[in-house]
């Protein structure tokens, strides 16, 4: 085939291109992933029964702050990674570590104020196993949605793009799971929420090169 023929072929039947489609597709995927995750949590696990108490609300807000912080920072970065050559600068990738760093510092402070006999309970909590399983499982749908959206674009760094798709999915999942979770301590959030979200990120990095090739 002559390249000239191909070029001539491509120049026919052009349609105006929507320049915002990358960002819009990602936002649609994020919204859909969030709704499904919320639905799964509400139906499968149920809202925590003591949600109206002040303590429960405060911790819900803390967990949401952590998760939403991760999701919004990761989304900004993923919109860059979705474009060819995007997201090559390392500095902005480090920004997503901020929520993890913040929760780690707060955990250490709260452990410092508590007697060491409470530490076990604060870190391990009651439902660590449920948290460890739920967040990655709930994350599957938002992850699939994020991968679908990124595939419509053209990422060139597949492992990193997969990692950020996993990070967003983990964050969305944690947001939903927070409505159910009754373990109210900062170290618990840092270890089990933070840990499972990191797990989702690693899984995304491993799957990225296979799922995102174009």
């Amino acid at each position: 085939m002559k390249t000239d023929d191909l070029v001539a072929l491509l120049s026919t039947s052009l349609e105006p291109v929507d320049r915002r489609s990358v960002v819009r597709t990602l936002c649609v995927a994020l919204a859909a992933g969030s709704i499904v995750s919320l639905g799964l949590t509400l139906v499968g696990l149920g809202v925590r029964p003591d949600l109206i108490t002040a303590r429960a609300l405060i911790f819900l807000v803390v967990k949401l702050f952590f998760a939403v912080g991760i999701v919004s920072l990761a989304l900004v970065y993923l919109t860059r990674l979705a474009r060819p050559g995007g997201g090559e600068r390392k500095t902005s990738a480090v920004l997503v570590a901020i929520p993890f760093g913040a929760i780690a510092v707060l955990s250490v402070i709260s452990l410092g104020f508590a007697p060491s006999s409470h530490w076990d309970k604060m870190i391990v909590g009651d439902q660590w196993l449920e948290c460890l399983l739920s967040i990655p499982i709930i994350a599957i749908v938002p992850f699939a949605a994020a991968i679908w959206a990124v595939r419509k674009a053209a990422p060139t760094n597949l492992a990193r793009t997969g990692a950020f798709a996993g990070l967003i999915a983990g964050g969305v999942s944690a947001m939903a799971y927070a409505l159910h979770c009754t373990d109210d301590s900062l170290p618990f959030v840092a270890v089990w929420y933070g840990g499972t979200i990191v797990l989702c990120t690693l899984a995304g990095a491993a799957l990225g090169p296979r799922l995102l090739r174009w």
Binding site: M1, K2, T3, D4, D5, L6, V7, A8, L9, L10, S11, T12, S13, L14, E15, P16, V17, D18, R19, S21, V22, A82, R83, P84, G85, G86, A153, A154, T156, R213, W214
Partner: protein, 185 residues
């Protein structure tokens, strides 16, 4: 270098607004630069011009079908280079060539050279076209290869004018998918 960027970007912006002449001019220029880029790289590992041309066409298809991922706030050259580089790495992996044999990161050289001697790739357009559904093939052959107008093509293929446009559009996508599948196996 800087003037290339300004000219190419202007053509790209116009082609995003579906200006066919700009699109054509842009892709002609890009194919010259991509050809210089790929044949230079492939010559180092003893691959021929036809394989370089395969890559040129793959990159052009990618640039065309992924043009919505170009952010007009950014310069065009690095975006094109990122696609060209991605397709080169993909090719090297596919053919199990060591990435060490080919220096990948010479972004500045990408747009510097030009090779406008049109070449033939290893793909057979006729053969690929045979695999398209009848209406798509008819529309593309009529308008593109035989240079008929949309109205004439509609007459010849027995479909409406908007049908011709839709079939060309879909046919090109299918063609791109066929080319992609062929290179993968």
């Amino acid at each position: 270098m800087a003037t290339h960027e300004i000219e190419l970007k202007a053509l790209m912006l116009a082609s995003l607004d579906s200006d066919a002449a700009s699109h054509h001019a842009l892709f002609e220029r890009l194919s010259g630069r991509l050809r210089a880029f790929y044949s230079g790289k492939l010559a180092r590992i003893g691959r021929g011009a036809a394989e370089a041309e395969d890559l040129v066409q793959e990159a052009l298809l990618a640039i065309h079908f992924k043009r919505h991922t170009y952010d007009p706030a950014e310069p065009l050259t690095p975006w094109v280079h990122a696609i060209a580089r991605y397709k080169l790495i993909d090719f090297l992996r596919r053919t199990r060539t060591s990435l060490d044999d080919v220096p990948i990161d010479e972004a500045d050289t990408m747009m510097a050279h030009d090779d406008n001697l049109s070449a033939e790739s290893t793909r057979d357009l006729e053969q690929l076209m045979q695999r398209l559904p009848e209406k798509m093939r008819c529309s593309i052959v009529a308008v593109k290869l035989d240079g008929q107008s949309i109205a004439e093509a509609a007459d010849r293929c027995g479909i409406s004018e908007s049908g011709v446009k839709v079939n060309i559009h879909r046919g090109l996508k299918t063609l791109a998918a066929l080319i992609a599948r062929e290179t993968r196996t």
